[in-house]
């Protein structure tokens, strides 16, 4: 297309947006609302994934060290454990430290444990608290540990881990399904709305064709108009989601300081990009595809 044609396309798209003010407003608000809802659900889902991972990362396997291993050798043992795939870190808990913990748990009944201070009398064992890269590694790591020299016994309740994994998996899948459903709904509703605005102008499209306009000549301004509608709506939705997330993060971290929640950045930046791309693509495609139906004159 030549410069003049581009001028026409832009001018035409802008004029159309302006002169069909009511319809433009209706579609921009629809785009904005749809994308805002999508953004909210997306933010919730992403945070749920994050929380699930956080919870899973709390799973640990306890490995009791064989009484025959001396303290020097535990360093070496620690290195070997940390080298296992799926292990994030291994924290050594000496039998003395274990006894201290037990006493604390006993509270005022700690006198029951009196006399165990003597190293010879302490019936507890050295152990490693093995933190995992993910709860799904628990079984494998436990197995590896059991086969390891110097490890006497592994404490690991697969049923508890399975329970946890089932829950976090459900949360992950649920979030994904929700986002997918909502994305589909968004695409559908936005293109539906844009289709209605094009439909209202189908006779005009017919007239344009009758006075000699090519399909492309008619389609480009619609393409651009759809793009602008989409981007405008996405910008509004993005801004709303941005402010909303700031507010929610503030409120939540004030109410629940320990809550695992994703930082605003780069999350919101990425979200903004995603929304703009989505709005642009659905808007432009929606109007271009819709107008095609009315070009057969």
């Amino acid at each position: 297309m030549r410069a003049n044609a581009w001028g026409y396309v832009f001018g035409e798209a802008l004029r159309s947006l302006w002169r069909n003010g009511f319809m433009s407003l209706a579609s921009v608000t629809t785009v904005a609302i749809c994308l805002a809802v999508l953004a909210i659900i997306l933010l919730v889902a992403v945070n749920l994934q994050y929380m699930a991972s956080f919870v899973e990362s709390q799973v640990e396997v306890v490995a009791f060290v064989d009484g025959s291993v001396d303290r020097a050798a535990t360093r070496d043992l620690e290195a070997r454990i940390e080298a296992l795939p799926g292990v994030r870190e291994a924290v050594f808990v000496s039998r003395e430290a274990a006894l201290e913990r037990l006493k604390e748990q006993f509270g005022e009944h700690r006198d029951l444990l009196a006399g165990l201070e003597d190293p010879e009398a302490n019936p507890l064992r050295d152990s490693f608290e093995v933190r995992l890269a993910g709860a799904q590694y628990a079984a494998a790591v436990a197995g590896e540990l059991e086969r390891m020299d110097g490890i006497e016994e592994v404490m690991h309740r697969q049923d508890v881990v399975d329970r946890l994994l089932a829950i976090t998996q459900a949360v992950r899948t649920g979030g994904l399904v929700l986002v997918a459903l909502l994305a589909a709904a968004t695409v559908f509703i936005i293109s539906n709305t844009i289709r209605l605005t094009v439909y209202a102008r189908r006779h005009q499209v017919g007239i344009m064709k009758l006075v000699g306009a090519t399909d492309g000549f008619i389609r480009w301004p619609f393409f651009l108009e759809g793009l602008m509608l989409g981007v405008l709506g996405a910008a509004v939705a993005g801004a709303a989601a941005w402010m909303g997330y700031d507010l929610v993060v503030e409120t939540l971290t004030a109410a629940i300081p320990f809550i695992p929640i994703l930082e605003q950045q780069p999350l919101l930046g990425n979200l903004m990009q995603l929304l703009l791309v989505l709005g642009a693509v659905i808007g432009a495609m929606g109007s271009t595809v819709s107008v095609r139906r009315f070009l057969r004159v």
Partner: protein, 226 residues
């Protein structure tokens, strides 16, 4: 320039044209007359390919437009100026923009448009209404805007479907003289009309339709058969 060969057009149960044959030469001016529903508009619609014939061939400028590929249709239409019976102005464009649009589609430059459109609006007597939208025009003003759009590109063929139906006799004659002038410059012209006085006064070729068939084709014709 325009040839109908055994052309029939059927809408559902209605036979709008039945086995029409005729040839219209370049630079000719033809009045298409006949009672309401005779098939005049259908005749013109086949030429610029708003409709395709049910049977037969419509040859325009050496090409059978019924067989034309979709992509070529716009270029056919740019050769043809059409005054539609129902005007078909774009409702959200001003008079100026409506006329300019027919130039824009041909790829005309802004400068050409800004020179030519006011000129044409002046010719049809709408110079002072260039900023008005169609719904702000009287019936006759809309009709003249439609005429302006049809002639703005100086097309090789001009089809006018009842171009003076909403005009008072004086204005109608003004528009008619404009069309005659354009015809003198070489444009082939088909004018479907009920304006008996004009047809009779000019004594040009008349094709009379009735129930979709050509019942009369006279070189120096009048509105009613004698």
């Amino acid at each position: 320039m325009i040839e109908f060969i055994n052309v029939s057009k059927v809408y559902g149960e209605t036979v709008a044209l039945l086995d029409v044959n005729c040839y219209i030469d370049a630079s000719e001016l033809v009045f298409l007359v006949g009672p309401s529903g005779a098939g005049k508009s259908t005749f013109t619609r086949l030429i610029y390919r708003e409709e395709v014939p049910t049977r037969g061939a419509v040859v325009v400028d050496g090409v059978n437009v019924a067989r034309m590929r979709r992509r070529e249709v716009p270029f056919l239409r740019r050769k043809i100026g059409v005054v539609f019976q129902d005007f078909k102005l774009l409702p959200d464009k001003t008079v100026f923009e409506n006329v300019a649009f027919a130039m824009l589609v041909t790829g005309a430059s802004r400068r050409e448009i800004n020179r030519r459109v006011p000129e044409v609006l002046e010719m049809v007597g709408l110079a002072d209404k260039h900023k008005a939208y169609p719904h702000q025009l009287s019936g006759g003003e809309q009709q003249r805007a439609a005429v302006a759009r049809a002639i703005v590109n100086e097309p090789r063929i001009l089809l006018a479907d009842e171009p003076t139906g909403n005009l008072d006799p004086d204005t109608a004659w003004g528009i008619m003289e404009l069309l005659l002038e354009i015809n003198r410059l070489g444009t082939t012209m088909v004018i479907a009309t009920h304006a008996q006085q004009i047809v009779d006064a000019l004594g040009r070729r008349v094709i009379a339709l009735r129930d979709g068939q050509i019942v009369r084709d006279q070189l120096q014709g009048v509105y009613h058969a004698r």
